[in-house]
């Protein structure tokens, strides 16, 4: 039963299938090498890149920007989300504004971020922090809203102090939904940083992708895309590990 439904089998199968098509079509010369370079060439490029310290510098820049942006977005998102979420009236006033902002493709504000913070890390951090902030604030509010009224009424009637209310009732009850926001924001912050770097930057993985694509160095481009995909998978995997461990 388990082996038949093991989700890893079709996953691995799909990856192998794509690799096979890639290998076959490029090997037979059906695709222009500028569009899709040979599999072996890209893998060789990837190995090559992983041996150069410069690559780790760019990975470091991207991860640094992402970490700073994420920290800011958690700090502001939880703060704003908590204040807005705990007061019913503030929720009514501000939640629609946050939701409306969430529907806006924030990338259009990125040029403004460049005007304000320049071409270096500042603009990426600002853009990414705002993206993460919105998600975390929205999920924190949703989490607090999901706390049942009865739970609050019961703990109040049993004489919970303001502090107990906060730390023993509201926060733990809001946690599962807020956590979803925290998780989503990690990926959002990573993607926004890379997107920002691709638009205009002086360093970082996104910058290298933009550079390779402008120079039509397709093998480099694919290799950098693979590095980013690998990092994204690691982040996803780590998040799934850590959060299920906490919930269970």
């Amino acid at each position: 039963m388990r082996s038949r439904y093991d989700p890893r089998i079709p996953q691995i199968g799909a990856i192998l299938f794509i690799l096979l098509i890639w290998y076959g079509t490029t090997g037979l010369g059906w695709v222009h090498p500028l569009l899709l370079p040979k599999t072996t060439l890209v893998i060789r490029k990837l190995v090559e890149l992983l041996q150069v310290p410069e690559t780790y510098f760019h990975i470091g820049v991207t991860l640094f920007e992402m970490t700073v942006a994420y920290s800011i977005s958690v700090f502001l998102g939880v703060g704003v989300g908590f204040i807005v979420g705990t007061y019913r009236y503030l929720t009514d006033v501000f939640e629609p504004i946050l939701l409306a902002m969430y529907a806006v493709p924030l990338i259009i504000f990125y040029p403004l971020a460049i005007l304000f913070f320049g071409f270096e890390s500042g603009s990426k951090i600002a853009y990414s922090a705002v993206s993460g902030f919105l998600i975390i604030a929205i999920y924190t509010i949703m989490g607090i809203k999901s706390v049942s009224k009865q739970l609050i009424a019961v703990s109040m009637s049993m004489g919970a102090s303001q502090r107990d209310m906060l730390f023993k009732v509201l926060l733990p009850a809001a946690w599962p939904i807020a956590l979803m926001g925290f998780r989503l924001a990690v990926i959002i912050c990573f993607i926004s940083v890379v997107a920002g770097e691709m638009m205009a930057a002086t360093a970082g993985l996104g910058f290298k992708i933009g550079q390779s694509s402008e120079g039509f160095r397709t093998a480099d481009l694919y290799a950098y895309v693979l590095i980013i995909v690998i990092i994204a998978f690691i982040i996803n995997w780590a998040l799934r590990r850590s959060t299920t461990a906490e919930v269970v």
Binding site: Q11, V104, P111, M198
Partner: protein, 261 residues
């Protein structure tokens, strides 16, 4: 005011709406004040009055209007090209438990690849003109829609299907009268997200490389430090995005009304 509120002349919801409007107006006035007094550098921030004036100017500018039109076409085509296969595939995957187990993880796996990194590849394959924007928009729209279609189909209560079948419903009747009405609400949510994502995808592609469309003007204004022009375009795009989202949310609410009973 207090007594009025107390007696309930102005309902709670309405005062929230009024407060929201006040907050937004205060923010605009604050921005105007800050720029006029040059607490904020006018090179980087345009005063709202100037942005508004520029919006009116741009609405009479043929080139800008045409750019909005091109972007709109890209978004609509991208959305449709992403949405139609996503709905069909999603429902087919969702109705079968085995297909769901086999393919949903693959969809999730591909979904977790940051699509922005693939943008240069889209441009390589589809060129720098309208095609690459449509394709990138479609790729963005596809995933939230297929996931919601799978999710929506899966949540159909199995006993409802059993009941329909035992009362002699044919396969297509089960599909039309049971599965589709139950899938439609999560699907609409997915379509709303898909619409937002299609807009995001198209704008990303236009901002990265383009000769036309509104993203092109955003780039031109940025590099020329034409702040008021830039803000005007950004504000209009944001308002369009908010408007689209609100329309879809209204549809969502309307279509789900029968279920709450």
């Amino acid at each position: 005011m207090r007594t009025m509120l107390g007696k309930g002349i102005i309902p709670w919801r309405k005062t929230a709406t009024i407060s929201r409007a006040v907050v937004i107006i205060l923010f605009i006035l604050w921005l105007e004040f800050m720029v006029q007094r040059e607490y904020l550098d006018p090179l980087f921030v345009a005063p709202p009055s100037e942005i508004f004036r520029m919006m009116l100017v741009q609405f009479t500018n043929q080139n800008i209007l045409q750019a909005y039109g091109i972007t709109a076409i890209e978004v609509i085509l991208g959305f449709l090209i992403g949405a139609i296969p996503a709905i069909l595939l999603g429902i087919s995957i969702g109705v079968s438990r085995y297909l769901d187990k086999a393919f949903t993880p693959i969809v999730l796996l591909v979904y977790s690849i940051p699509k922005i990194t693939l943008l240069p590849l889209f441009i390589l394959f589809f060129g720098i003109y309208i095609n690459s924007k449509i394709a990138f928009g479609a790729a963005h729209a596809f995933f939230p829609i297929i996931l919601s279609a799978i999710g929506g189909t899966k949540t159909v209560d199995a006993s409802l299907i059993t009941a329909a079948v035992s009362m002699g419903a044919t396969r297509s009747q089960v599909f039309r009268s049971v599965i589709i009405p139950h899938t439609i609400y999560p699907l609409i949510t997915g379509l709303r997200l898909g619409m937002n994502f299609a807009l995001l995808g198209v704008l990303l592609a236009e901002l990265f490389v383009s000769r036309q469309g509104i993203g092109y003007y955003v780039r031109v204004y940025t590099s020329g430090f034409e702040t008021a022009e830039l803000y005007a375009v950004v504000v209009v795009i944001a308002l369009i995005a908010i408007f689209l989202n609100e329309v879809m949310r209204a549809v969502e609410k309307r279509l789900s009304r029968w279920q709450t009973g």
